[in-house]
């Protein structure tokens, strides 16, 4: 599925923060988790995740540290901060509001369709 750039940009903050709220992680694993959660529908360009992580780090929502992974390579791990958790709660409130609004409108849209369908069916009866 192709998502618009704006939607990707807007949703990346809550998604990354939420994944990090589950536990500390690093770039590749975050992308894997996004893929898994979306059932493969959300495909981020790998490289684009890192500027997002660096922006969140600069804003103080997450912290980074370098560790030596089991493979022996140095790896940058990210951890959500308390400020990040507050931001996540705020994002969640906003997205739930958006979600509720959209659900309402989807519902309202699908009802007349259903009604029209049933009346159409009635005419043929």
């Amino acid at each position: 599925m192709d998502f618009s750039k704006d939607l990707m940009a807007a949703s990346s903050t809550p998604i990354v923060l939420a994944i990090l709220a589950e536990g500390d992680s690093y770039g590749y694993a975050i992308l894997k988790r996004v893929q898994e959660l979306s059932g493969g529908h959300m495909q981020w360009t790998d490289g684009m995740l890192y500027p997002v992580l660096h922006r969140l780090e600069r804003l103080g929502h997450i912290e980074a540290r370098w560790e030596v992974a089991e493979s022996g390579r140095r790896r940058k791990y990210y951890r959500v901060t308390s400020g990040g958790r507050r931001q996540l709660a705020e994002e969640r409130r906003q997205w739930e509001a958006v979600d509720a609004t959209l659900r309402g409108i989807w519902h309202a849209l699908s009802e007349p369709v259903a009604r029209a369908a049933s009346s159409l069916g009635g005419a043929f009866r």
Partner: protein, 455 residues
């Protein structure tokens, strides 16, 4: 990547990818390390899924996305950090140890330059009384440590290490063996031309093994311009420091003039060259755009001034006096135009099509050529009645060298504008011409004094 992927091992491919990424200014070495870890993880995952390593590499690179777009994102995210990193490298930077050892080395070589400058004083040579000695040798004192610094930094091959010291030894001999008369013109010429000749040695050391490549020489041209800008900035700061110091010491009744004259100024001015060279190297991303911006700004202005001068001169119909100063003025004019041309070339993307600024540059070059050709013809007609002095011959020689360069540059530029030639040809011509300047300068240093009887 031009080589077929199958011919390279995975490590080599990753190496290439890394160095390709590292060339992007917006992406810091530490970010490259993070992206590389990602790439390796992705490759490992794909190989586990049954792909061959070169296939896995290709897919991992593709998934990483368009590097231009990524580096734009990085630039947007990190643009505010550029100044922060001017001198103090981030503590968690993987490249920090290399940078720091580089800084230590640069300051050591700067110290060496300062010591070289003060060493003759031990043998009773006074900065004031033996000003001639210092003037002849100052380029050696500065450029020898500078060349050594780059030889160390680039880990030069022994082959070039052999002949660079030879070049400096020869320079030292010719600077000091000639029995110059007091205040001789040829002495002044030697002082002015020795650094130009030796700058070639600096260039060879700077370029490392890439002196034979157009790109290597172009980098050196860029380096020279940026070094000049950094040096001017450091000199400004130094002047403020000295003025301040003089003022506060004056207040408590201590005169610091002789300290300035004998220590701070000579040591600071020589050491600053090394520090500036180190800064240019370490902070490429920060000031890289300065020289091109300045040239972009001044190219139209110089073109306007030149056209105004040509017009007025032709209308007024004034003859030119054969004065050394007139010759020097026209040399300076050509050198300036050449610099404007060189730095705008060095910053221009060779692949982009001709634009308005290219036309402005051509106008500038052609008006400079016209002005110089007129001046030369006026001078050539009358030079025999005034005789050849070393200054006139040197100035004329330089004029001819610059004229030839600019004339052919104009031809190449016009060809490029009309779509008949590539911009690369102009770059090749300019970079190939560099040894000519050094060769002429060496000729002036070596041949002129005996030729004109050390006057």
């Amino acid at each position: 990547m031009t080589t077929p992927a199958g011919a390279l091992s995975l490590e080599e491919q990753i190496d290439r990818w890394r160095s390709y990424l590292a060339r992007r200014r917006a992406i810091q070495p530490i970010d490259v390390a993070e992206l590389e870890d990602h790439l390796r993880e992705q490759i490992a995952g794909l190989t586990e899924a049954g792909l061959a390593s070169d296939e896995a590499f290709l897919i991992a690179v593709k998934r990483m996305g368009d590097l231009d777009a990524i580096s734009r994102e990085f630039a947007r995210e990190h643009s505010d950090g550029l100044w922060k990193q001017l001198v103090v490298p981030g503590t968690d930077t993987a490249a920090a140890p290399a940078l720091r050892s580089d800084a230590v080395a640069a300051f050591c070589f700067a110290g060496a330059a300062a010591i070289l400058m003060k060493l003759p004083a031990l043998f009773g040579l006074d900065l004031q009384a033996d000003a001639g000695f210092y003037a002849r040798n100052v380029s050696l004192f500065v450029l020898l440590p500078l060349t050594a610094y780059f030889a160390w930094k680039r880990r030069l091959a022994p082959a070039s290490l052999r002949w660079l010291p030879v070049a400096f030894a020869v320079a030292a001999v010719f600077a000091n063996v000639y029995p110059f008369g007091p205040a001789a013109d040829t002495l002044v010429l030697t002082v002015l031309h020795l650094p130009i000749a030796l700058w070639l040695a600096v260039g060879v050391a700077y370029a490392g093994g890439r002196w034979n490549e157009v790109a290597g020489r172009m980098d050196f041209i860029r380096f020279s311009g940026e070094l000049f800008i950094y040096y001017a900035l450091i000199a400004l700061g130094g002047a403020v420091l000295m003025a301040f110091m003089a003022m506060i010491f004056e207040a408590i009744g201590i005169k610091v003039e002789s300290f300035f004259q004998y220590w701070l100024l000579p040591c600071g001015a020589t050491g600053a060259v090394l520090v500036a060279a180190w800064l240019v190297e370490a902070k490429q991303s920060v000031i890289e755009n300065m020289a091109p911006v300045l040239t972009q700004l001044f190219t139209p202005m110089f073109a306007a001034v030149l056209i105004a001068f040509l017009g007025t001169w032709l209308v007024a119909g004034q003859g030119l006096p054969i004065d050394r100063n007139v010759l020097i003025a026209f040399d300076v004019l050509l050198a300036l135009v050449l610099c404007l041309l060189l730095y705008s070339i060095s910053a221009r993307d060779p692949r982009s099509p001709p634009g308005v600024f290219d036309v402005v540059r051509v106008v500038l070059v052609i008006s400079a050529l016209l002005a110089d050709a007129l001046a030369l013809s006026a001078i050539a007609a009358r030079i025999s009645e005034f005789g050849f002095t070393p200054n006139r011959v040197a100035a004329l020689g330089e004029n001819v060298i610059l004229l030839v360069n600019l004339a052919w540059s104009a031809v190449l530029y016009l060809r490029f504008l009309r779509g008949r030639g590539s911009f690369g040809a102009l770059e090749r011509w300019q970079t190939g011409y560099l040894p000519v300047y050094a060769g002429w300068a060496a000729l002036v240093v070596v041949v002129f004094p005996p030729l004109f009887g050390y006057i």
